[in-house]
Subunit: 331 residues, 2 copies
Amino acid sequence: MPKTAALHLHLESASKRNPLFHLTEERWAAAAKRHRALARRLTVTIGWDGDILDAALKTADLMINSNPPRERLRERAPRLKWIQTTGAGIDALMPLDWLPAGITLTNNSGAHGAKAEDSCAMALLMLNAQMPRVLNAQREHLWRPAYTTPVSGKTVVVIGFGDLGLAAGRAAKKLGLKVIAVTRSGKAGRPADAVYPVSRLDQALPKADFVIVTTPLTPQTRGLLNRARLEKIKAGAGIVNIGRAPVIDYIALRALLEKGALSGAVLDVFEPEPLPPDSPLWNTPGLVVMPHISCDDPRYIDMLFDRWFENFGRHVAGRPLRNIVDRRLGY
Amino acid sequence: MPKTAALHLHLESASKRNPLFHLTEERWAAAAKRHRALARRLTVTIGWDGDILDAALKTADLMINSNPPRERLRERAPRLKWIQTTGAGIDALMPLDWLPAGITLTNNSGAHGAKAEDSCAMALLMLNAQMPRVLNAQREHLWRPAYTTPVSGKTVVVIGFGDLGLAAGRAAKKLGLKVIAVTRSGKAGRPADAVYPVSRLDQALPKADFVIVTTPLTPQTRGLLNRARLEKIKAGAGIVNIGRAPVIDYIALRALLEKGALSGAVLDVFEPEPLPPDSPLWNTPGLVVMPHISCDDPRYIDMLFDRWFENFGRHVAGRPLRNIVDRRLGY
C-alpha cells in the first residue's frame, strides 16, 4: 500500500498554438521516464481545448496550463493547489483576482536563458554592423557598404534584469560591452557593470549605444519607453525588444527609424501576435521583425517538464516552490 | 646634420575607391604625430589616380599603394625597396612576375581580426537562428516562427586558418562551438579543436553545422568548394564566406539554397564587386548579401599606418619585416 495517494496532475493544451508548446503524451512519457520516482506519485490526464477540462478539474491537485480557467475556479476545482503556466510572462492572466488564495501560480521563467543569450548577442552584432540597413539595401539590390568599429567597448542599457535581462547581460559581456542594468529596485548583480533604478531611466538612456528591453508587461512597464524617452537615446543607437511589445511605443519608434535617427531595431514581440500582414512594421526601414522566436528552444516543453518535476520534488518534500508569481508584481 | 638621408615614401590612392581606404594628408599627419621619431626619417608625397606617380617613382624608396604599377617597375622606380598594399588579399596582383627581385611586398593581413570576429559570430548566430529564412518571410509580411536549439555545442568547419580563420575560430569558441580548422599544412593551433589538411576536406565537411571560408584566393583555393563538395555538407547547415568569392561555386550554392537544402548563407565577397544589380544572388532565398564589410573598420587606414610604422621601425633597424607576401603561395 503506497504511503500517500497519488496526486492528480492535469495537462491542458490549445491545439491551435504552435506544436512546439503542446503538452503531448509522448513528451510527458519521456519526461516521466527521466523522473521515474516522482512520476509514480502522479495520475495524469491530458486535455486539449477544454475537451475534458471540467471533469479533470473536479479531482485535479496540480495543473500545467498556459491559459488556466478563470471563472469560479475554486468551485470547479476544489482540490487544486498549484498551477504551472508554460510561458514566463503572465501579463495575459493579470490581474490575478481570479486566483483563489489557496492556489499557487508558478511561471516558466528561467527556461529561456540560453536562447535569449544567443538572440541578444546576434541582435547586438547585427545592430552594430548596421545590418538592418544593409538588409534593406539588399531588398533593393543596392551595394551600400557601412563600415563600423567592433562592438567591444560599447555600452548596452538592459531594461529589466530577471532571467532574460541576465541572459542579455551575459551576451553583452561575452562581446566585451559595458552593461548598465535598469531595474525596479535599483539593484542588480553580475554581469551588470552599473545599475540604475527605473526612476533614473532617463539618466541611463543617453549612455546607450544599444538598449535591450527584457521586462515583463506590468502596469509599471507598459509604455515605459515612450516617445520622450526614445528621443533621449543617442543618434545611431540600436534597440532590441525581447520582453513585451507594449513596453515600447512602437509608433514613436517607427517614426525615429523612418527618419534614420537610430541604426535599427530588432523586435521579437508584437501586439497582437502574429503581427498582421498589413502592419507597417514589416517594412519599416531599419526594423528586423523576429516572429517571437528569440527565447524559445524546440526542446521547450521537455525543459518545462524537467523544471516542473524539480519543483514537484520540492512540493512533495514540503519545501517552497521556485518561480512563484508575485500576485502584486505580476511576475 | 642627420645621420642618414631621409627616405622617400610615396602614398598612392584611387579617388574612386571608398573614402574609407583613402591615404589622405589628414590621416598621414595624424599617424606621423603618433610616430614622430620615425616620421622624421621620411619625405612623403601623396598622389591620387597616378597624377604624380611617375615623378614620385623616380626617387621613391618606399610606397603604400593598393594597386602598384606593374609595367617596367624597376626601370621607373630604381630606388624602390618596399611596397605595402592596403588590403590583405593580393590575388588581384598575382602572378607576381612583375615584382622585381629587390622589392619586398607586404600586405595588411592582421588588420581585420576584431571586425572579422564580430562578423563571424553574427553570421553563426544568424544562421543558427534561421534568420535568412525569417528575413525572407519578413519581406513577404509572413509570420513564420522557426525554433532552433542554442548554437553552443555545434560544429563549425573553418577553411583557412590565417588571420581571418583565427578570428572565425575565436568567435566560434566564444559561442561554445567545436572548431575544425582546414589548412594547407594540416596544422593549426588554438582555438582549433581539430585540424584537417585540405586534402581531407571531404572528410571534414560532413561534420559541419556551419562552414566558414576565410582563405585567400590562390590557384589552390579557386573553386575549392565546388558542387560536389557543397553537396557533402549536411542538410540544414549554414555557409559563410569572408574570404574570396571564387573559392565557392556560387551557382551551385544558389541551387542548394533554392531547394532549401541549407539553412542559409552569409556572403561578404562577390565577383565582381560591387555585385551588379541584376545578379540573382540579391534575392536568392536564404542568402544574406553583405557588401564586403565584414572585416573592415572605419579606422582602417589609421590602423594600416600604425602597422606600417611598426614595420618601418624594423626596416630602419635592419630587422626582417612582418607580413611579407610569399611569392609562391600568393599570400
